[in-house]
Symmetry: C2
Subunit: 269 residues, 2 copies
């Protein structure tokens, strides 16, 4: 490879860090890649830090010590989260989204890789300074936003199933009651999924009374694991009393007016 | 904002493009952001292109015309795909993955945001020059890799359900027969999910005889849509005759030896 100039080093560092959120790259990795001295690289990293700060592109952090290096945190500023949630509320408030039975069609948003990535960034911001082992979700619609939260926080994702599957081996299965409709449901999770004494964050797309979240908390106990955070995209205003106390949400669903066709949603931020 | 120098412009462009694969950014967007002339930006983009080429970081492409601009394509070189698949085969060949009944536990890989992103990049490479409207998958385990393929190719994702859901509105449901076990299964898809006359790519994690893929092809006909490509992470060697003819895969599952505990998998690339 020809001589590598500062522009090229800075550019390549940014590309690699951005595509691998929260993955720590040892300084030696870049020194080898660019065939440069550590002092040169330190200067480059300072430039990278300043660029991210100047344009509010998230954070670049250096970690010292043996396992040290540099990493990219895709944090959003409070202002950026607010703007994103307001924009999402605008998209949701569309009468064509109303489905008979008082539901809202959100698949196009939940399954958009772009929207789900930004939901992941926004939800991730609540848990970015916490020490935990897994992001947990339950199939199906919450998977994309949970995967993106996992990507943003660089943690493994665990998906709880609603039906047992032969292909996942021995599983723990547990009944729980949905709080809103009082129906008995089952959740399954393969024993291999979670190591003992883990701490997890539960991510889901929707919460009414919190029966599912409560179920996940109980299921985790069976794995000697603890839910230390809950992040939900959209939470209904009613019932006010949820089965769980501590959770973060981005959007509050106030009301669906079937007659006027209005969906009243507000940002929680 | 203070004066912005070349390093900063190049760095910010790379950050923004990398985080938004295949999204076209108009030159004016960057000219406004940096308060710079188009000629200056053109030079910057050339530098960005060279950095991506020099370090094999994917492609930067400029598009001319009214809707023109610049975009990042997270392509992998053939060599990079080969290396990734070989590494994945190494990870899969581990006797602790064998599950009674001849299955392989892959959740930790399929649900890893890092592995699934790279699977998305590798599978996406087969379809990157095709003109289509949606990535389609069927719940549950294929969702993360399908979402990442959708992210890499910047297309909306559509998830076919195995159970009807009230929350998605009117749906088309269809029975199909799994080719390997001859069981009748059902798939559901909300009518809102896909516009008429669409072209789609089907992505899944696993294929044996191809019954599910065949089912998706039939289901798409009900939406007046056409499957123009199929991409599967892992395909079994047997049966050789699949129900569909054209598909791309990354890994071939040759054999699971329950006695020796060996999983023989090979890269298809």
């Amino acid at each position: 490879m020809n001589r590598i100039n500062k522009n090229e080093r800075v550019g390549a560092i940014i590309k690699i860090l951005t595509e691998n959120p929260r993955k720590i790259y040892n300084f030696n990795y870049f020194c080898d890649l660019f065939n440069c001295a550590k002092s040169t690289l330190s200067e480059d990293i300072d430039i990278v830090k300043n660029i991210f700060k100047k344009f509010q592109l998230g954070e670049i952090e250096t970690v010292t010590g043996a396992a040290g290096g540099v990493l990219y945190k895709p944090t959003m500023t409070q202002e950026q989260i607010k703007e994103f949630c307001a924009d999402l509320c605008d998209k949701i408030n569309n009468k064509e989204r109303i489905i008979p039975g008082g539901y809202i069609y959100l698949n196009d948003l939940l399954y958009s890789s772009d929207v789900s990535y930004n939901i992941g960034r926004a939800l991730g911001s609540f848990f970015q300074d916490m020490d935990f082992d897994y992001i947990v979700t339950i199939e199906t619609k919450g998977i994309p936003i949970a995967l993106m939260t996992a990507r943003v926080l660089n943690k493994p994702l665990v998906v709880v199933r609603k039906e047992g599957r032969l292909t996942e081996g021995t599983a723990i299965h547990m009944n729980y009651v949905t709080a809103s409709s009082k129906r008995i449901q089952t959740m399954y999770l393969a024993k291999k999924s979670i190591a003992k004494d883990s701490k997890v964050i539960f991510i889901d797309d929707f919460m009414k009374a919190g029966g599912t979240a409560k179920g996940i908390i109980d299921l985790m106990k069976e794995f000697d694991a603890e839910v230390i955070g809950v992040g939900i995209l959209m939470v209904t205003k009613e019932p006010k009393e949820k089965l769980i106390n501590n959770y973060h949400s981005l959007i509050i669903l106030e009301e669906i007016n079937n007659e006027s066709g209005e969906i009243i949603v507000n940002s929680s931020i």
